[in-house]
Symmetry: C2
Subunit: 138 residues, 2 copies
């Protein structure tokens, strides 16, 4: 514990919804199909995230069982994805076991990402301008 950590933003993805098969007492538990439905993903995507070490559901035999902390972690992953980070960047940003729902974003990474997206934005805007010029000429 030290009192002067580098600036760091613990970014909570709040997800108030609850559901799934309540198997134990009150802690929701999901099959892969349920979790996929809930987040609008494919089974393949969830298995893929597991292979990358982003998710680690427990098993009942061969079948994957996802607890609410896994769902929280998945929400954080998708949040990072929406911000335009790659999965391997996301892997370094997902916080530790204690708070699976937070993303570990430094100010520096934040500014780098902004610069990256601004470049993409400029490219797309140029393309759009040209396409509009062309389509106006038809």
């Amino acid at each position: 514990m030290n009192g002067c950590n580098p600036p760091e933003f613990l970014f909570a993805a709040d997800d108030g919804a609850s559901g799934g098969s309540e198997r134990a007492n009150s802690d929701p538990v999901y099959t892969i199909g349920e979790l996929a439905d809930r987040f609008g993903l494919t089974l393949r995507t969830l298995r893929f995230y597991e292979r990358l070490g982003l998710l680690t559901p427990r098993r009942e035999g061969r079948r994957r069982i996802y607890a609410s902390k896994d769902a929280d972690r998945l929400a954080a992953i998708l949040r990072a994805k929406r911000l335009g980070f790659t999965l391997s960047e996301t892997r370094h940003m997902i916080a530790d076991e204690a708070s699976p729902e937070t993303l570990n974003l430094t100010r520096e990474k934040c500014l780098e990402q902004i610069a990256r997206l601004e470049r993409q934005l400029a490219e797309i805007e140029e393309a759009l301008a040209e396409l509009r010029r062309i389509s106006a000429s038809f």
Copy 2:
């Protein structure tokens, strides 16, 4: 030949520059390295485009020799790329032998592409807004 073709835009990429090893009389000819330099690409990229059937340089033994029509075609490919088309879409858009420097863009494809890019633009703008909010909080 019919007089009522669908609306179609033959889009010339003008590239006035000339250079390269003038091997035959007055028609510039390039090695793969020269062409890569000229367009800021890697050798790998040019070989890859050839495998996809986008470029078909002639050979002198095993070595690739690019004529000015190949350079024109490459310019058209890169133009389509800047407009956000995939290489396989581009493959269908590059015009026939007679005019290697033109892209064959229908009005419909143009509008579809505009819609696609507008969606990407919106996603990037949302991500940017969120990242700016986060970075302002540091």
